[in-house]
């Protein structure tokens, strides 16, 4: 369906309580801060958030956690020097944690976006992550069965979009954006600039418009 160019608060209106929201970013690089601010204002809660980290400092995902809107974090690296909001919520028993190795986090969302039912992965074999899980030996190597992670919504940040919703990213801020864009029913992208159709070189587009539903321009 045609990508809608709108403002941040309008873009997040369809996010419901208890939704699973994929949030882009590796630390603050690629974090869609203004979309998260809009989500906080919108008011949805009891959310499951899938993101690499569990918030840094006091803005972006950290602010959403501090506002008490997150029931569960699915992430690979919650504990950091500046993850104090998550740390205190977790220690108070107010937030659930599902720890997923970083590559599995990415690949499980990739599988969701690509229509894959499950896949066998060598990561975590023989570790507590694999305990009680289905494993299989293929060509002499052991693998763990991993299932897709589907999002109701993805909130991502890219660099430049055209009005059709094609996206290009900037440096390591690309991180989870392209994968999350494919794995959610509704993908909302925050970009620094929107250009006219035809202004982006088709050879340079990283996320094709088919994956993008809402586009919000936020000047850096």
């Amino acid at each position: 369906m045609k990508t809608q160019v709108t403002d941040a608060l309008t873009a997040v209106q369809e996010i419901n309580d208890s939704d699973t929201v994929l949030v882009g970013g590796f630390g603050m690089a690629g974090m869609p801060v203004e979309l998260i601010d809009a989500l906080i204002e919108h008011g949805a809660g009891d959310l499951t958030i899938v993101s690499n980290n569990a918030g840094n400092g006091d803005t972006g995902l950290a602010a959403l956690i501090a506002a008490g809107r997150v029931r569960k974090m699915v992430c690979s690296f919650p504990r950091q020097a500046d993850s104090w909001h998550f740390d205190s919520m977790y220690r108070a028993g107010k937030i659930e944690l599902e720890l997923v190795p970083q590559g599995n986090l990415a690949e499980r969302m990739r599988a969701a976006g690509a229509g894959i039912g499950a896949f066998y992965c060598p990561t975590g074999v023989g570790t507590p992550i694999a305990e009680g899980r289905e494993t299989r030996v293929i060509d002499g190597r052991e693998y763990v069965l991993e299932y897709p992670i589907h999002g109701d919504v993805a909130l991502i940040r890219a660099h430049v979009a055209d009005r059709l919703g094609n996206l290009v990213y900037r440096k390591t801020a690309r991180n989870f954006g392209p994968v999350m864009a494919t794995a959610a029913k509704l993908t909302i992208a925050q970009v620094s600039r929107i250009v006219e159709i035809g202004e982006l070189d088709p050879e340079h587009i990283v996320t094709p418009s088919i994956y993008v539903n809402r586009l919000v321009e936020v000047a850096p």
Partner: protein, 208 residues
């Protein structure tokens, strides 16, 4: 041996032209000692090949960081890619070497470096398990003893594992060890004899 000296020893062992991932913490310092003409290409799991050194705050670009979220430089020939590609690169066996820190390494090459198992600790694994199963060579950089003097090269890890039988070399301040099918071989020592080392470890050692 100081950590900086150890970083130099490891840097000198990285083959020319290798694609290498340096883990967060101490291994990051190895980058400083790679020779500019070595052709070594650094991978960072957040989505880049051709990563340069950590840069001072005034040169920082918020969109360009290493896996430890420190601002870094982009070298000529750099390439960016998304996270699923970055970890496919790791799991798919394309990286020649990764160097990680560790809480413990076992004589069989088991690695424990993500969780102490302490009840109040918040676990964080990041990309360590993917690197452990994926890189062609997994090297560990660590002190050989904890602050209380307990050895970190052990018969079997007591901390939760990151990966099984994945470590091939252990670089420490006291000695460098090669994990071989026949056992743990001492490659070199720094200030101790192999005999003295053997009295402080519970792991049988093969002489250099």
């Amino acid at each position: 041996m100081k950590i900086d000296e150890l970083a130099q020893v490891i840097a000198a062992d990285i083959p020319e032209g290798a694609y290498v991932n340096l883990g967060i913490g101490q291994p990051t310092s190895i980058a400083r000692y790679l020779k500019p003409d070595s052709g070594v290409v650094l991978h960072t799991e957040n989505g880049m090949l051709g990563m340069g050194e950590v840069v001072p705050a005034e040169e920082a670009d918020v969109d360009l960081t290493n896996a430890g979220k420190q601002p870094v430089a982009e070298l000529p020939g750099a390439a960016y890619f998304h996270h699923a590609d970055s970890f496919a690169m790791m799991r798919g066996g394309h990286l020649d070497v990764c160097v990680m820190g560790a809480f413990q390494v076992s004589a069989d090459g088991d690695l424990a470096n993500w969780h102490t198992g302490a009840p109040d600790a918040i676990p964080a694994v990041g990309g360590a398990m993917d690197l452990a199963v994926g890189a062609k060579e997994v090297w560990v950089m660590m002190t050989l003893f904890t602050r209380t003097g307990a050895p970190k090269l052990v018969p079997a890890c007591t901390y939760p594992l990151t990966g099984k039988a994945c470590v091939t070399r252990v670089y420490t301040d006291v000695a460098t060890f090669l994990i071989t099918p026949g056992g743990v071989r001492v490659r070199e020592t720094h200030g101790l004899t192999v005999e003295e080392l053997a009295t402080r470890l519970d792991v049988p050692l093969l002489a250099p």
